[in-house]
């Protein structure tokens, strides 16, 4: 290759208490290259970025910039050395003009020369083909243009390396194309771009090389043109195509007969998932499969109305109902165990007991509190039933392990006599023993007549529990798989082909 290496990272390691976030990772960025950094949650992408930009200090390894070893202590320092970062959330001020956003915080004179600043900004915007006027207030620009202005600011600070951390996640297709045009223009100027995204199609459209990380380890660096999608997916998920063998411990329960427990037509939400149809029958376990960011969580959140529902029709037992808020969903017997346990699920300072009876209390009415004795009875029953490991029912939930916190939230839902329970990544970050316990519980609940939707990043876990998999890609349902002898291979093929047909 003619292109020169700008940034080289060798044998980078970084540990946090209890986790090895990066383990001997190599990374190389060349001049005028768009390099996609790929991996599922916890693969170490953002840790790697933060090591480059000086947010984290590396434990071991060597970083060289233009052949010289470097060691940044702050993002500011990285910026001064030509490494610009544009984050998913736009770090600009909406109430200032476009030109001000490009130059504020950089000048050393106490007086603002508006004329000169606007002229400089106009030239820069023009040279990058950004459709904005320097004197326009930033809030009047579309998100894509704002993103581009952030990039223009970085470019003007003489950056040779541009890191784009999921810049496209809130853009529509036209806006993505505009952003890509800008990226290509920068590439032509010799800027090396590190691009992080969850959208596979975008990676294939724009990138020259792909580096895949998994569980903090480097899987490899590939030329985009010579890495088929299906291989990329299997590298990200970590199972080689040939030797996928699933051990089927449980026979999935399925019954398609009769009126579905829950049925949605054309459901869509403000979180940006395309309108979709969905049904689930009594005693069925199904799942949304797809990569991170494919829209699987957004879909179930739409069912539970955890995000603002923007369209569609919902039927429960064939009767049309309105579900506009989570409370409506709960009253119709739907439960949801969220992906973000800390933010959406537990109330950290309350005791295990109070966390368990929380939803039941809401249903009963806030002004008719349970007596301590009643609450204690419920709590004890479920602590035993689900094998929750806690010193007493009065212990604050924050001192429990992740798996046990998850069981407490499960108990909370089971107490309310649900008909339909949605589990979004219930096994993430918990130990293997508890994982298996939760899977077993899912099967047991289904045979007891409950309907469940189960989502997991680990496909084999879903294959073991679900009788029907709805496959998603880029926020759209691309297909459905059913049957008892599905393999991860089938799922990955469907994800890879989905976008193309």
């Amino acid at each position: 290759m003619l292109s020169e290496t700008i940034l080289e990272m060798k044998d980078i390691s970084k540990s946090f208490p209890g986790v090895k976030a990066l383990d001997g990772v190599d990374f190389k960025l060349r001049e005028g290259e768009i390099h996609a950094l790929m991996g599922e949650n916890g693969a170490g992408k953002s840790t790697l970025i933060k090591v480059i930009t000086g947010v984290y200090e590396k434990d071991a390894g060597l970083i060289t910039l233009h052949g010289k070893p470097i060691h940044f202590r702050s993002p500011q320092e990285a910026q001064n050395n030509g490494i610009g970062t544009v984050y998913q959330e736009i770090m600009l001020c909406p109430n200032l003009t476009v030109a001000e956003n490009m130059f504020i915080g950089r000048s050393h004179t106490p007086i603002v020369n508006w004329k000169e600043m606007n002229e400089k900004a106009a030239r820069l915007l023009d040279s990058l083909g950004i459709p904005a006027s320097p004197i326009q207030e930033l809030s009047t620009c579309s998100i894509a243009v704002q993103q581009m202005i952030a990039i223009a600011r970085a470019v003007d600070m003489d950056c040779r390396i541009l890191i784009l951390d999921e810049p496209t996640s809130s853009l529509d297709e036209d806006e993505v194309q505009k952003l890509f045009e800008l990226m290509r223009a920068l590439k032509a100027q010799g800027v090396g771009i590190i691009f992080i995204t969850h959208f596979l199609e975008q990676v294939y459209e724009i990138s020259d090389r792909i580096t895949v990380l998994r569980n903090g380890k480097l899987i490899g660096e590939y030329k985009t043109s010579s890495l088929p999608q299906i291989e990329l997916i299997s590298k990200m998920l970590g199972s080689e195509l040939e030797d996928i063998s699933t051990i089927r411990k449980h026979e999935p329960v399925a019954s398609d007969a009769g009126i579905p427990v829950f049925e949605a037509v054309g459901l869509s939400s403000a979180a940006g998932v395309r309108p979709f149809d969905f049904t689930i029958h009594k005693g069925e376990v199904n799942g949304f499969a797809g990569l991170l960011g494919s829209g699987r969580s957004e879909s179930v959140r739409a069912i539970f109305a955890a995000d603002k529902v923007t369209g569609g029709e919902v039927r429960i037992h064939g009767k049309r109902v309105k579900i506009k808020t989570p409370l409506h969903a709960i009253k119709h017997g739907i439960g949801y165990l969220p992906e973000d346990r800390k933010g959406d699920g537990i109330i950290e300072d309350l005791s295990v007991r109070d966390n368990i009876i929380l939803t039941l209390q809401v249903l009963k009415g806030l002004f008719k509190p349970f007596s301590l004795k009643e609450a204690e009875k419920f709590a004890e029953e479920y602590i035993k039933k689900l094998n929750i490991k806690t010193p007493t029912s009065n212990t604050p939930i924050r001192s429990l392990s992740g798996g046990n916190q998850q069981k407490v939230i499960l108990a909370r839902w089971l107490l309310t006599n649900l008909e339909y329970l949605i589990l979004d990544e219930p096994t993430r970050g918990i130990d293997v023993g508890t994982k298996v316990e939760i899977q077993k519980l899912v099967i047991r609940l289904a045979s007891g007549g409950m309907s469940l939707t189960f989502i997991s990043s680990e496909i084999d876990e879903m294959l073991r529990t679900c009788s029907r998999l709805i496959v998603m890609k880029d926020r759209e349902i691309v297909g459905e798989l059913r049957g008892t002898d599905l393999t991860e291979n089938d799922v990955m093929h469907m994800i890879a082909q989905g976008g193309k047909s």
Partner: protein
């Protein structure tokens, strides 16, 4: 490519300017209404100047408050600090060693001290500005009553001269019923208002500090990521607000000539109302310093109007309260209409940015 002129046409009025425009239009309409209803008093230039002559302290306080509010904060101690300064000046001037220059320094010193205290606690220790400045309000009030309980008239001759000093504009005025020409008179406080207006409006528009205040008020996290020293910027806004409260205190006693426990009591609330009516948003990042006097004058004209109508004073408060509601609702309606427009209405072709439609 689109010509630059085409791009410039597209730039919309910023929120700050829009709100300022609304405030100005409302003020002008209000004043026209006043002139039409009571030509006898409102048609006189002196009435207009008296709005400034009698309310200079309030306008000066509003300048500092506006800057704090644009930076995303609030300062409710200014009224009490202003009151404290009047009494401190009165006590000091009644001493034999007192001098006017000393009194000016004392006023600004007290104000700046409160500003530094509040700024430090709010910016560097990150405590809620409302609570901190509420404490400041009580502290200043307590100090005021401790200083001197009874009204204190300043009798120092030099000061009395200053108090009674008026700038007479010989070419502007009105004839009274007897046909005698009465020229307009402007008090020194009005001059101070004008000077401070120029200083602070320029500061906010053309200085790096001023633009940083807007950035911090718009989104303080982003401002930090953009390389702005957020804490220092916030700190300085409170120092400025303390300083203007101090200056306001001196102008107050220069107008009334006496220290009194009731001086400038509740002025902070009037200042907040004025700032909002002048187009400064409570959430920060939006506002225009020129709006500060406009807002104050609007509030005052409302009061004058009600008084001229001969309504009882308790109704004055009710009516100004209701008008404030109306004004704020109007502001938010206009702002939200504007946002919705952005999402639904497509740009007309002659404003289109890509330049394809250019002939």
């Amino acid at each position: 490519m689109a010509s630059e002129k085409a791009i410039k046409q597209k730039a919309r009025l910023s929120n700050s300017n829009l709100l300022f425009l609304i405030a100005s239009v409302i003020f002008v309409l209000m004043y026209l209404f006043a002139i039409i209803s009571y030509p006898g008093s409102f048609l006189q230039f002196q009435t207009f100047f008296d709005l400034f002559n009698l309310n200079a302290p309030l306008i000066i306080m509003t300048f500092g408050l506006c800057i704090v509010m644009i930076g995303g904060g609030i300062d409710i101690s200014i009224g009490s600090v202003c009151g404290l300064v009047t009494m401190a000046c009165a006590v000091y001037l009644e001493k034999r060693s007192g001098s006017i220059a000393g009194a000016i320094l004392l006023s600004m010193g007290i104000g700046i001290l409160f500003g530094i205290l509040h700024g430090y606690l709010i910016a560097y220790l990150e405590i809620q500005p409302f609570i901190i400045t509420l404490s400041g309000l009580f502290l200043a009030q307590g100090l005021l009553t401790t200083l001197h309980k009874n009204p204190l008239n300043v009798t120092m001759p030099a000061f009395v001269n200053l108090r009674d000093f008026n700038i007479v504009i010989t070419w502007l005025g009105t004839r009274n019923r007897l046909g005698v020409f009465i020229p307009c008179q402007i008090k020194p406080g009005t001059i101070i208002v004008a000077v401070l207006l120029v200083i602070f409006a320029s500061l906010m528009k053309w200085s790096r500090f001023g633009r940083n205040v807007y950035a911090v008020g718009g989104n303080s996290h982003s401002a930090m990521m953009l390389g702005i020293n957020v804490k220092r910027t916030k700190f300085i806004t409170y120092v400025i607000s303390g300083l203007t409260a101090g200056i306001a205190g001196f102008v107050y006693i220069m107008t009334t000539g006496a220290g009194n426990i009731g001086n400038a009591a509740g002025a902070e609330m009037k200042a907040i109302a004025s700032a909002i009516m002048g187009g400064t948003l409570l959430n920060g990042g939006v506002g225009n310093l020129l709006g500060a006097p406009i807002g104050t004058l609007t509030l005052l004209v409302i009061n004058e109007l009600i008084r001229a109508a001969g309504v009882q004073s308790n109704f004055q408060a009710i009516v100004s309260g209701l008008l404030l509601y109306l004004f704020i609702i109007l502001q938010s309606i206009i702002m939200s209409l504007r946002d919705r427009k952005r999402f639904t209405v497509a740009l007309p072709p002659w404003l289109h940015l890509s330049g394809k439609g250019q002939a």
